[in-house]
Amino acid sequence: MNRIIEVKDLSTIIKGKKIHNNLNLHVNKGEIYAIVGGSGSGKTVLLREMILLMKPTSGSINILGVDISKTNHNEISKINKKIGVLFQTGGLISSLNVIQNVSLPLKENTNLPKDIIDDLCVIKLSLANFPMDSVYLYPSELSGGMVKRASLARALIMDPEILFLDEPTSGLDPVSSVFFNNTIKKLRDLLGITIILITHDLLTINSIVDRMLVILNGEKLAEGTVLEVSKTDHPWIKNYFHAGGI
């Protein structure tokens, strides 16, 4: 099972507006896969469909060998345990502090004793470079970068096979975003997780991404390794890769 995610002929229509038009893509196991596209091109909707928050209008999405457009509730919760998601604005629960947020999935889904849960949380927070003196803070007291890191730790806590990141470096300063990129790469190399990310950040694309997809207005423009895509002859893609190369 080399192809961990396979999307076939995906179309999405929301309120009469066509979001995706016959989209095809696949993600291989263990790679860092980027989804790139202009604002409003359907990236986030695609991600939401892959993490089972939305259903596509037609077509199929195959994750870990399961066709999620035809699944029942039981299988969905099984898949949910195998994926971790970092939402664009963090998605941390505001009434829980950082360590409670990170331990929430473990408390809900396992019967592990509290000291083991705490230790696992500390390891994951440290992996995500979260400063240990701030674990009792509440989300509202955190800076943007710390929210991203706490949220990454929560996404990692169930040891997922696939990690979805929605604009992981948006709102971070260049130094932090290099750091964050390195963290993501380190996680992939050590844990063998497949990582799918939505990004606008050329820095991320050039430094850590293996393969990428470019969508514009719901149509696939190009898919392949970063080098392949950057050589595609399309004005939008040319502009995109030029934007950072002044």
Binding site: S95, L112, S126
Partner: protein, 373 residues
Amino acid sequence: MDNFLRLNTFNKDSVKVLLIGKWVLSSLDEILKEIRSLRLEDYTHIFFDLSGVMGLDVSGAYVFKSLVEGLRKQKKHVEIYNISNNYLNLLELIQNNQTELDSELKNNKLIFLLKIGEHFYNLLGDIVFFLSFFGEICLTFFRLLIKPKKIRWKEVLYEIENTGVYAVPIVALVAVLSGIVISYQGAAQLSKFGANIFIVDLIGLSIAREMSPLLTSIMVAGRSGSSYTARIGSMILNDEIDALRTIGISPIELLVMPKFFAMIICLPLLIFVADIVGIGGGLFISHMLLNLNFHTLIFRLKSSLSITSFLIGILKGPIFAIPIVFISCFRGFHVKNSSEELGKYTTMSVVNTIFFVIILDALLSIIFQKIGI
């Protein structure tokens, strides 16, 4: 039972443990159970063989590592064989990332003292904040009195529509129901004494003077007060208030004062509506229950309900409007950074406004009693 650890005892003291299966989070429960049942601490020499491990994630590696460390702490001789580079890296990663949590706050036995202190500190902050808020409101109010042109009439009209016009149905419903209740209760008692006609005095006075101002204010406090708090609070969460300040618009002038003027205008009018509907409903029920004709009822009402009593009821409107608007807006400005606070302060705002309305009503009753009107 030996799904994850398989023992191979050499002699009384040494044992070889073959690790098998997937050491991942989903099977961690069973692994822990197995480790506990094996009692590895009974041996002095323990050799772990990892050649049979099918998969290892961070959680599994953590459990293995703490098992090894626990045994080493008890001065056992532990050796690990056949560990792949990948797994070794994983163990190293955990070693590097395992830090002790600063548990000072976590296990503080005096935490309740901390809570009490925090509570009083917050209360003090509340009082200071209220004073500064009240000061800003007074300043803005007098500034607007001097320059009435700066009153934002468009906002005032919008608020009148929202807090006044749209509240009419619910206020009228509550008023008519209270009228019906009073007249039912009154009729049962008064008919025993043959004092049927006095039902009009009862309904007129109690509704116009007490019931309709109080019930209307409570309805409006619950309906509009909570919405004021929530609206201002969510504007703060969106940085809208800060944006207004940088643009040079005083949030008090734009958000609080129009609500205040609207409420001062609306509440007496709503009370008037409640008076009419409430007394009307009460008289209608009296007509049905006690066989008094409408002409008699109206005539009696004219002589029993003095204009002073009626005006006192209406006048309570602007007086109650003050705590309703100011407390609910004050609570709205209290929200700082989370949606949880928004809920908390909205609840607080409704409780506080209703409480203050009732206290004010009681105070006014005593005052009117003393000065004899």
